[in-house]
Amino acid sequence: MIEILLYILMGLSFLCFLRVIFGPSVADRMVAIDIFGILVVGICALLTVKTGRLFLIDIAIAWILLSFIGTITLAKYLAREKLDE
Amino acid sequence: MKQLTMFIFLFLLWMAFSFTLETANIIAGIVAALITTIIFSNRFLTSWQKLFNPVRWFWLIIYIIVFIWECIKANFDVAYRVLSPRMPIKPGIVKVHCSLKTDFARVLLANSITMTPGTITVDINNSDLYVHWIYVSSEDASIYTKKIIGRFENLLKRIFE
């Protein structure tokens, strides 16, 4: 059961990579990377149930924060703004 | 008092994240919460008295229930638009006037708009919100203002003002 859901989520992250590769503009690629980050959190949560390792949920929380900071930085880069505006 | 509230909140957050009762862990949590409080306490919680008003907490719970319901509705709306073969979209960016005063209430309003059916906040300029709407059903300002923020504005006003 959990294996099937994990395979589905991995397939979805592959779809995100398709958008990263073929995206017509830079913004499309950034949206796909943002969505990929959220999908990885779901994959970590399901892996916690599958393997029973307790540290995977910590990785999920750290991944939320890192993906957020990365997206904000990329957005600032795209709008050509300083980081403290 | 403001600093104490913030310190207790941060320390509880630390304890929930680490979830052990070792002495070293508690000491590290106290130090980290203290440093964060010293640096950031002047920027947040400018009116901490509102935190201890039970009426506001009651409206906050009502707001969360309304919000979760809208959120689920939003997803079925998106599902309908994505799955239908003709793709019934008519996107546009509209200007919405909101009457909230405090910054935190405006941020929560913008976040709520982002998670409700077919709308996402683009920018905020004083009290004007610019909202990208996936299906512009009418271009009359009074009608779409009621449609987009009418559900949340009164609740947020009761919570924060």
């Binding site: 959990i2 859901l5 989520l9 979805l12 779809l15 995100c16 503009s25 913004a27 499309d28 949206v31 943002d34 969505i35 959220i38 999908l39 959190v41 779901g42 949560a45 399901l46 916690t48 149930v49 307790l54 949920i57 929380i61 939320i64 924060l65 993906s67 957020f68 997206t71 904000i72 957005a75 600032k76 795209l78 709008a79 703004e81 | 994240f17 959120c71 689920i72 939003a74 997803n75 998106v78 638009r81 994505v82 799955l83 979209i89 008519k90 996107p91 546009g92 960016i93 509209v94 200007k95 976040n111 982002t114 998670m115 077919g118 996402i120 906040t121 683009v122 920018d123 996936i134 271009e139």
Partner: protein, 107 residues
């Protein structure tokens, strides 16, 4: 308890699927962001809630419960930053767009 958590996992995966389909199908970056942010965020929140129901009030359950508001706030703010910066970078709205009030602010 286990069956509730499995139902929540399946609902979450279904919403993620919808979000990624929207990411592929919709015409321009603004509409893609609409579908993707809402569906994928709610799907992942649902998976985390299922994790809470699976483990109850243990270390994992509490952490999953804290991760839900964290994920909610970060994903909405990230979507907001992305849509604003892509407008500022001059990416065109799709042909179906009917109204654009934001243009007046720029001038």
């Amino acid at each position: 308890m286990n069956s509730i958590s499995y139902i929540l996992f399946i609902i979450g995966a279904a919403f993620d699927l919808l979000g990624c389909l929207g990411l592929l199908r919709l015409p321009d970056v603004y509409n893609r962001l609409q579908s993707a942010t809402k569906s994928v965020t709610l799907g992942t929140c649902s998976i985390l809630l299922g994790l809470f129901f699976h483990y109850g009030f243990s270390a994992i359950g509490i952490k999953a419960l804290i991760a839900i508001p964290l994920l909610f706030f970060t994903s909405t703010v990230a979507a907001h930053a992305l849509i604003r910066s892509s407008y500022k970078a001059g990416i065109k709205l799709s042909d179906k767009t009917v109204v654009d009030h934001y243009k007046e602010l720029k001038q």
